[in-house]
């Protein structure tokens, strides 16, 4: 199960991120389920993007819907979180890396509170210590996406007890996965690829080639995320 997928159009570089391409990549790599958000919700209209995401996922059972709120628009966020929660959405993404807001932006606190009320899971990219400060005390499980160049920050926070989950997408440094598993257990790691913007094969091979026990690998590749989202069989 892949945490980190987008679909739609990609306005900031040439890329085919259509739903058929995404599904083709999943089939090629035997990825059973992909958590997908519409890029329309990042760049143009979060409400329309969320509706598009729901429609894709209704038509294609391998796709799991991911909701988003554009914090630059903000108004109506509670209604939107209620609407998608009623439609079964559990996983939410916010996109500061594309929308240009920072985690000390007041709308982030309000949206986090509403996600807490909804029993949601939040996935964001960011500097771990910044995300930790912005989500301290919140009852929302947070999956952070970060490059392994930020591993020192991540390890220090986890030593201090910050209960992050971590996307594997950018953890391609030697021994990084093995260190996180041995120090903090396998349940913190969630497989994410960034497909179709990034190569699904690169993300998968990083897991399959790592020195991990088969049950740990399976947990990272899907078990952990399914448990977090309440989708265990």
């Amino acid at each position: 199960m892949d945490l980190d997928m987008l679909a739609g159009s990609w306005p900031i570089r040439p890329a085919d991120i259509s739903v058929p391409r995404l599904l083709g990549m999943m089939e090629h790599h035997e990825v059973a389920e992909g958590c997908v958000a519409s890029a329309r919700g990042i760049f143009y209209d979060d409400l329309a993007g969320n509706s598009e995401t729901l429609a894709w996922c209704e038509a294609e059972p391998r796709l799991v819907p991911v909701g988003t709120i554009d914090l630059r628009r903000f108004t109506g966020y509670r209604d939107e979180i209620r609407r998608l929660t009623a439609a079964g959405v559990k996983l939410w993404r916010l996109f500061p890396e594309y929308q240009g807001w920072s985690f000390d932006h007041a709308p982030f606190r309000r949206v986090l509170s509403a996600l807490e009320d909804a029993g949601a899971v939040l996935f964001v990219y960011g500097q771990p210590s910044v995300v930790a400060a912005a989500t301290a005390g919140a009852r929302v499980p947070v999956i952070v996406g970060t490059h392994f160049y930020q591993m020192a920050d991540l390890l220090a926070l986890m030593e201090e007890g910050t209960h992050f989950y971590v996307s594997t997408r950018q953890l391609h440094g030697p021994g990084v996965l093995e260190t996180l598993v041995s120090e903090f257990g396998p349940e913190r790691l969630i497989f994410g690829s960034g497909a179709p913007l990034s190569a699904l094969g690169a993300a998968l091979k990083g897991i399959t080639a790592a020195d991990l026990a088969p049950d740990v690998r399976q947990a990272i590749l899907g078990g952990n995320l399914r448990r977090l989202l309440g989708r265990e069989p």
């Binding site: 085919d16 790599h29 030697p174 190569a199 690169a202 080639a209």
Partner: protein
């Protein structure tokens, strides 16, 4: 999908040495084991000590580390802030009588770690000096002005017999790397990056043809698996894969081809 082990992969961009991150600080033996596991038969490395701190110390460390590993080769690193030292290092490792010549087969320049662009007079002088040795020059390129692939173009045009490899193909600015590659026939595009955009590989081939695109991994900073997996998604034909994954590197580095018994 498992990768095709018959490809006999050659990695044109790798490293040895330590890194300022909490990752496994691998040795040449670790790299050799990882190569074996992933079907990489030869790799050309520079030492992180040479590019981060002291080129002379780092080149010496690399010579010592790779001595007993026939599948691991070396780039001589030069620091653009020290042109005279750089010329000395070229002669020490690449000169006709050099005891290291059988292991050092290229030159490495890092624009951002030396805070020096490759279009400066100092870099042009070094590029002229490399022309005496006729080995490829791997230049780190990324998206900032300091690291831009465009910085390499003047030296490439002035030294048409020297192959210049645009390391990372401009990184996240890979479309710029592809544009630069079109500008001179002695420019090669090397693919490794944290950003594994599937379109990047096709853009490289469309820009310069499959004969001037090189597989690289950035090991031992990255796992080898990262870029091996990325190339599996590039949608290349069998012929393209054979060129990109090793055929072109064998042509650029004839010592590697000889070691592999293919020349």
């Amino acid at each position: 999908m498992t990768h095709d082990r018959s490809l006999s992969i050659v990695d044109a961009h790798a490293h040895l040495g330590r890194w300022p991150y909490p990752i496994r600080q691998g040795t040449a033996a670790d790299l050799a084991a990882e190569m074996q596991a992933l079907g990489v038969v030869a790799t050309v490395t520079s030492h992180s000590l040479a590019i981060y701190y002291d080129a002379v110390e780092g080149n010496a460390a690399l010579a010592a580390e790779i001595r007993d590993f026939p599948q691991i080769w070396g780039y001589v690193s030069v620091n653009l802030n020290y042109p005279e030292q750089a010329e000395g290092e070229l002669e020490r490792y690449l000169g006709g009588g050099s005891p290291f010549r059988h292991k050092f087969i290229g030159v490495k320049v890092h624009q951002s770690l030396s805070r020096r662009r490759f279009d400066t007079p100092e870099a042009m002088a070094i590029a002229r000096a490399v022309d005496r040795y006729r080995v490829p020059v791997l230049v780190h390129t990324f998206g900032s002005a300091l690291e831009s692939p465009w910085n390499v173009l003047p030296a490439a045009k002035a030294n048409p017999d020297v192959p210049f490899i645009l390391g990372h193909m401009g990184g996240e600015a890979w479309s710029e790397g592809a544009r630069v590659g079109r500008e001179a026939p002695n420019l090669y595009l090397e693919l490794c990056s944290s950003w594994t955009d599937p379109e990047k590989v096709r853009a490289a081939i469309d820009a310069v043809g499959p004969e001037r695109v090189l597989f690289g991994t950035d090991a031992n900073l990255f796992t080898l698996a990262h870029m091996v997996g990325a190339l599996e998604d590039a949608g290349l034909s069998g012929d393209e894969l054979r060129l990109v994954m090793g055929g072109n590197a064998r042509r650029l580095f004839p010592d590697v081809a000889r070691m592999l018994g293919e020349e």
